[in-house]
Amino acid sequence: MSDLPRRDPRQEWIARNRLHPRHAEVLLAAGQGAASEWQGPNGLVRRNPHAIGFVGPNGVKRIDRSGTQQGAGGGGAMRPAAERKPLVEIEAPAFLVAVVPDMAGGRLSGHDRDLLGLARQLADADPVARGAVVAVIFGPHKETSFAEAGVDRLLHLDSPDVAGYAPEARLGALTLVEEAWAPRHWLLPDSKLGGGELGRRLAVRLGERPATSVWQVAADAEAVMGWQCTARGAAGSLDIRRPLSRVALALAECAEPVSETRHAATELALPQPLPSTLSRIQDLGQVSVDPSGVALSEAEFILSAGNGVKDWPGFHHAAEVLGATEGASRVAVDDGFMARDRQVGATGTWVTARVYVAVGISGAIQHLQGIQTCDKVVAINMDPGCDMIKRADLAVIGDATQILEALVTLVAQAREEKRDAA
């Protein structure tokens, strides 16, 4: 049921017409009177303006001056957008669609969301027998919006065995999922980070021939699983139309992400604990690479300098200590402080960093265009009104030189403590 207020024009008309025989009756039914208007002890009519009006569908308070008031009470903060989406719960799913998102940086990436959108498409195709989408995630995460991304069930496996690069242990876990629930579809992102590899391992283990680099899926009654897909082949130079296989590895933008509904995202647990596998591959951890050698367009962490940077040696030192790749605004490049290939923005490089720290950059539209896809933006600026602050997730108002100095000291201190402890 929708909770939009419904209006009944006739009732409203009666309520406005004080001479109508049913006037009092209708007013009472509308629930008006008592709360917003009453007779005080001295015979004065008291009115409570907060009690009248109602909250419209968009969260704006409306006061109906016509005399009838639909839905008593009022005020109250607007509900957050997420809560206004209808909640879809699938109690007894006809089948399961398993998705193994990459969770790069502990969050659902855009690719993961597209994939969940595709999973919803597969699960909701038949309104009579709807399937449920199970997301299987490994290791610690920071994601809070599984429900909005379209996840019905969440299987979170967080044991030290499956942390880091552990394809064999993860494969073992997925085989357990297969044994326990036998999902009808397995969907993985065909990405470098893990989905591409894990999906191929899984397909080989299950003895399925997976559809790889899938970018389009359409219903087709004649196909084996009821779906036909289009996949890229031969280094992206061919389109292969084939029936969708049980295990599918899909490219980014394979479907629209879920945006209109909210799902339950109830936690699942494996019926039995993970077997401890003896891995033949040992992860020795990430190697520190020279951040200045990383291409700006694919750097993960960028410290970017603008016209507000006065102390250039200090800035370079900070980038080195933080292990960040250096970027710059056009002004810093034009003034000769930074190389041309470091320019971020419309006429420079479009960056995809997870964390972008803008030091003394005002946030001109040409610059903001270049950082559209950045996850977290930190601004250090003197001017609290500039556009970069509006874009930033964290803004610190103050002098860039001093703040960078303090940051370098803090980081160096923390490293020192760690070394002492070790």
């Binding site: 990430q286 990383v294 874009r391 964290l394």
Partner: protein, 267 residues
């Protein structure tokens, strides 16, 4: 190829090479990742490198395969297969017979289905561990290889794997050397007939040149005109960020440090 006088047993490496396709002209060439794999094998000390290809032998594929011979080899083992055959059984049998310590392959073929599944199938069939996306082999000692794996965003991860193993090569591996014309001409093919199995599924699929993928439109989904107007008129997106005014540089730095830690970008 190399004199067998080394005191240590030589590391036997087999590189699986395929016929590539030039992305613009569509002509056959040595496949880029496979050539990188050959280069990687060449850079290993004490390695006995063998090239292995399963496929059809005709004029254009021979020209492409000679590109690998031109990287300093005298011969290439060729398992002859008809066009469109499934090369897995032939390769698995050949690897079983020679049992090398390390098998190097590219991540994906440049022709055919190009699903990148072959190394995984071989690994499962032979029961060997597989490591994907290699940038370098750092060392091989006592039957354990130390590898450098390429991660997205230019990052690297160090791994240890017990040999025998199959590895696939990433585009981040060192660029292959040029193919020298003379050795490429002189090199010989050592042809053997392997078991042939047809790939029926592939034959049943509809294959056509890739068409441009439609660009995703940015649709503003709003329930009302008011929301749509707000979305259209908004200048800077985001908003709702935390703004710290009137803080000392130390406090500001601390807040930034916290965010950097939370995002796990500090090493």
């Amino acid at each position: 190829m190399q004199p067998e006088v080394t005191t240590m047993p030589a590391l036997e490496v087999t590189v699986l090479v395929s016929v590539g396709r030039h992305p613009l002209t569509g002509r056959t060439r040595r496949a880029d990742q496979d050539a990188r794999g050959v280069e990687l094998a060449r850079s290993l000390a004490d390695a006995q490198v063998r090239l292995l290809h399963a496929g059809m032998r005709d004029e254009s594929s021979e020209a492409a395969l000679r590109g690998y011979l031109g990287m300093g080899f005298t011969q290439l083992s060729l398992l002859e297969q008809p066009e469109g055959a499934d090369v897995l059984p032939a390769l698995a049998e050949a690897l079983d017979a020679t049992s090398p310590h390390l098998v190097i392959a590219g991540e994906r073929a440049e022709r055919g289905e190009g699903s990148g599944l072959l190394p995984y199938l071989l690994a499962e069939r032979l029961g060997w561990p597989l490591v994907s996306g290699l940038a370098a082999v750092e060392s091989v000692e006592d039957g354990v290889a130390t590898l450098l794996q390429a991660l997205p965003r230019g990052q690297r991860r160090r791994l240890k794997v017990r040999l025998p193993a199959i590895v696939t090569v990433d585009n981040a591996a060192p660029a292959p050397r040029q193919s020298a014309y003379g050795p490429a001409r002189r090199g010989a093919f050592e042809t053997t007939a392997g078991p042939v199995s047809d790939d029926e599924e592939w034959a049943a699929w509809q294959v056509q040149p890739a068409r441009q993928r439609p660009k995703r439109l940015k649709i503003v989904k709003a329930a009302s005109a008011r929301d749509r107007f707000k979305a259209a008129a908004a200048k800077a997106e985001g908003g709702g960020g935390q703004v710290l005014t009137d803080v000392s540089p130390e406090q500001g730095a601390e807040a930034i440090l916290m965010l950097l830690r939370e995002e796990d970008v500090l090493r």
